[in-house]
Symmetry: C2
Subunit: 158 residues, 2 copies
């Protein structure tokens, strides 16, 4: 990490602070940079937009991909003010940036009431062991659509 | 599960099929119901909207929450044509629906080129063991914002 990394992380932390002051949502901010340029940023807006997916990282990834007109963040760096929750880390794996820097840890988040670690532990369980009902239904009917995809000549893979 | 569950799952599978035919993205659809009413639905639009987070479940959750003006899906049921990826399952845990039905399994998805299982395995790793660089930076500066959140009298928790 260097001064540029610290500059972008300062902006992510500033976004987190703004989110708290403006009652947008939880105390989390995120910046995505390519080289010396910010191509996406966001802060948590779960409660102000009634959207449980409106975490800082998800908003920043959507904005960065829109600005690059691609669904991949090749060579980009994500700066997030807190270690990503499983939803956001999953989104980061799909977006495939080069590097991710975070500031606070998931233990720090748990200490102020955000129990991401609980979701991490749930994700590791088998479906029949989860605290939530998660069951398979009509697999054969849906497999027919998978067959169409497999046979589709002009599909765009991601 | 009953005939109503099968009806909603049929719609989720139909949305998946439409997505393939209309070149919107991968072969995945999702419906969210409260009682007998559909309150949100979606199909995968990753490639057509340049958005790696535009999975069927994420789109349906955002729409359902918007229609209910809340960030929680209490008492709702999610019907998805495939077992959710880690990003979507994380989003589902944040949204807290009552039940989730899926049709195809993650093994079925892997067989047609969608390796969600790889991301599940990555999420279980410690940060220093990941295939992606994920490092902490400027924790003390970000902790100051967490302190502001903890002390904030009018915060809305989620």
């Amino acid at each position: 990490m260097n001064d540029t990394d610290r500059f972008f992380m300062s902006r992510a932390i500033e976004l987190a602070k703004m989110g708290v002051e403006e009652n947008l949502g939880g105390p989390f901010g995120c910046v995505i940079a390519r080289g010396d340029e910010i191509i996406g940023e966001g802060n948590n807006r779960v409660t102000s937009t009634s959207d449980p997916t409106a975490h800082a990282e998800i908003i920043a990834i959507r904005e960065a991909c829109k600005s690059l007109s691609t669904f991949q963040l090749d060579g980009c760096t994500i700066y997030t003010s807190c270690e990503p929750c499983p939803m956001c880390l999953g989104a980061i794996y799909w977006a495939r940036p080069a590097r991710v820097f975070y500031a606070c840890t998931r233990a720090d988040a748990a200490a102020i009431g955000f129990d991401d670690d609980h979701i991490y532990k749930e994700l590791e369980k088998a479906n029949e062991e989860r605290e939530m009902v998660l069951m398979s239904l009509m697999r054969d009917e849906a497999l027919e659509v998978f067959g169409r995809w497999a046979a589709k000549p002009d599909k765009i893979e991601y």
